[in-house]
Structures are given as C-alpha cells and as structure tokens.
C-alpha cells in the first residue's frame, strides 16, 4: 500500500475526483508513530456518525501504523466541512496521545 502524507492530499493529490458523477472522493493516509497509536486513533475517531444526515459518507480503517480515511460526498463544500472537522479531531487525538501516552511520566 502506498503511503501519502496529508499535505499531498490537501494539494489535490488525493485519489479519484469524479466530478462528472457528482461524487467527490478523497482518501487520506495518515502515518502514525506506531501500530498501536493507529489503532487507538481509529478507536477514537470511528464511532461517531457524520452529523449531516445525507450527502456524505466517511470510512476509517487502520493497516499497520497507517490510518486511512475515505470520503464520498455529493458536493465539494460538504466534503470540505467533513475533512476540516476530521483533521481537527485527529489533531486532538494526536495531542492527547502525546501528552498522556505511556512514555510520558505523570
């Protein structure tokens, strides 16, 4: 599996933008420091449903130390909102793991 970082996806380097089908499709692959942290990130970010009832789906998965997210959306702006929220939440998970992870003495 190829690894792409978040910057590439943000520049539009994500896979498969099928505008003609009115289906926006973005994939993010986020490398984490370890397999355990990828698994924890998945556990924290997967349970909540998208707040918007229709027009967007989001799938999360983890393989090794990589967390992958795949969106399908009807409109670009719906996708933008979801991706933005996801990145905020991911940043919070990473910061929590950094501050309260096993290597940090408390």
């Amino acid at each position: 599996m190829e690894l792409r970082n978040i910057e590439m996806a943000a520049r539009g380097g994500g896979e498969d933008c099928k505008k003609e089908d009115k289906l926006e499709f973005r994939v993010l692959h986020v490398p984490l420091p370890s397999e355990r942290e990828a698994s924890i990130a998945l556990g924290s970010l997967a349970p909540d449903r998208e707040p918007r009832k229709g027009g967007i789906t989001k799938e999360l998965s983890a393989l090794g130390n990589v967390l992958s997210v795949r969106w399908t959306a009807d409109e670009a702006r719906i996708l933008r909102v979801s991706v933005g929220s996801f990145l905020d939440n991911l940043a919070l998970v990473l910061e929590t793991m950094e501050q309260f992870g096993p290597s940090v003495p408390l």
């Binding site: 924290s44 970010l45 997967a46 349970p47 939440n89 919070l92 998970v93 309260f100 992870g101």
Partner: protein, 313 residues
Amino acid sequence: MTVVIGFEGSANKIGVGIVRDGEVLANPRRTYITPPGQGFLPSETSKHHRGVILTVLREALQQAALKPADIDCVAYTKGPGMGAPLVTVAIVARTVAQLWRKPLLGVNHCIGHIEMGRLITHANNPTVLYVSGGNTQVIAYSEKRYRIFGETIDIAVGNCLDRFARVIKISNDPSPGYNIEQMAKKGSQYVELPYTVKGMDVSFSGILSYIEETLFAMLVEITERAMAHCSSQEVLIVGGVGCNLRLQEMMRIMCMERGAKVFATDERFCVDNGAMIAQAGWEMFRAGQLTDLADSWITQRYRTDEVEVTWRD
C-alpha cells in the same frame, strides 16, 4: 475502592472530574463565554473545548493527586447536547481510555445531574426538577427508570432566560442567568404587565423580576403536581438554573405547605461539571455497565428515561 474520571462538555462548559467512593477528588471546569448579545454556537464551542480540555484533564489528575493507573473507569457524556462539543470530549475520553487501558462508560448528562444531586444532598428518593439552558424536566424514579413526568414542550427555561439576556445585552460572564438573578434582586416591584416605561427611560429590572416569577411559578406548579402523583415528600433541584435562589425559595414555600423538603446544590455541582459524569459513571460501573468502543458514539438526543437504572432498587 473505585475511582472514576468523568468528562463533560455538552454545552459551553468543559469539565473533568474525579470521584472515589462518594468523594469528589477534583472537579476543574472552564466556561466558553461569548460577548453580550451573542449565544454560543456548536463549532466555536467545540473549538474552545479542544483548546482547553487537555489542560483541564491534567489539572484534575494533579488536584486529585492521582496517576492514570489509579483510575478504574473513564466516563464521558454520551448525550444529550450539542453535537460538535460532545464529539470533542468523547474523542479525548476514548483516547485516554485506550491509552490507559481502562473501561469506558457513556453517561446520560441528565442522569449525571441527578446522581450528583443525590450524592451531595443525600436526598433519599426525591421528585427531581431538572432545569438548565438545555433541559427542563420533572423526573421521578420508578422501577429502574428515571421517568419524565413533565417537560418543556418547546425551549428550556434556561434557554428562555438566556435569550432574554441576549436581547437586552446582559453580560454572559459568569453566566447570563446569574446576571439576570442579580439584577432581578434589585427589582422590588412585581409588575403585572411586562412593559415598564418611566418618562424617557425604561426599567428592566421589573421585567426581569416578572420573567423570573412567572417562569419559576410554572416550574413549581408542575413539580407540585408530580409530587402529588408520586406521594413524594422531597424535591431535588438540579441543573444550572437550579442555582437561582429565588427558584429555590419559591420551591421551599410550596414544599413547606406540603410538609416536604427541598434539596439543591451550589454552583459547583448544579452547573455542568465533570464530577457529575464521574459520579453517574461510578454508579453504572459498580452495577456492571460498560460501553464498547464501537458503541461509544455520541448523540444529540438522549432521553433520561432511555437508560436502565440498574444501580437503584
């Protein structure tokens, strides 16, 4: 010995509390306060919580003088409340639960208020008036459920007060309700009609007194009705609006006429806080309830009577 940490952030307060066998070891909290005339919106509230939650968590552990290893269970607010802030808090709870390898418990926010009220006041089996910015319910316990006897058919009483404060641009610091109460105290005249003009000036404290008297009288009436149905001799007031001394006084007058008792807590515990989630989590954990990670999604709607109250007889 059972130690539970609780995370709460369903509205504009973010709190992390730690409870050990009925003792509140720590209960730090921050409030997202908006300028006068503005309410708080989900995305900004969530951003506020994201910015401070880890600091508050660290404070809680320090105040309790505990390490993560000392915690037995991680409780968080599953709902009801605002979506984005609920998610923010749930995410941190899930992360530390996995990091520290502790079981997770999703708690109903209203039940958090009730269990903290019961703990602090030692009320035995009260009729509960739950009044806050987001909720207005009259609740009584019966056969493993907190039954909703009555509720607002539209907005919560605190929401009504907050919106009114917004219109007349009362400060939101520390909370609009608190400032309404202080101003209403200065109003000595109960005004029948909510329209007071003195020459070129207007007087608002009369209107606020009117607002409070009318809203609170309505709440006292429905509480009294529930007490009559349940043959109850105790009232417990929980939720942010429960801090209001006039409401407590009016409830006390009604109760005295019935030979009943009123219980209320101070602002540490009636305003949203983390320890109340920890306390409800403590009850649930000891009764054997747990929340799987996959089922730990938050929900904006979560009725008080949806929860099976396995910890009471």
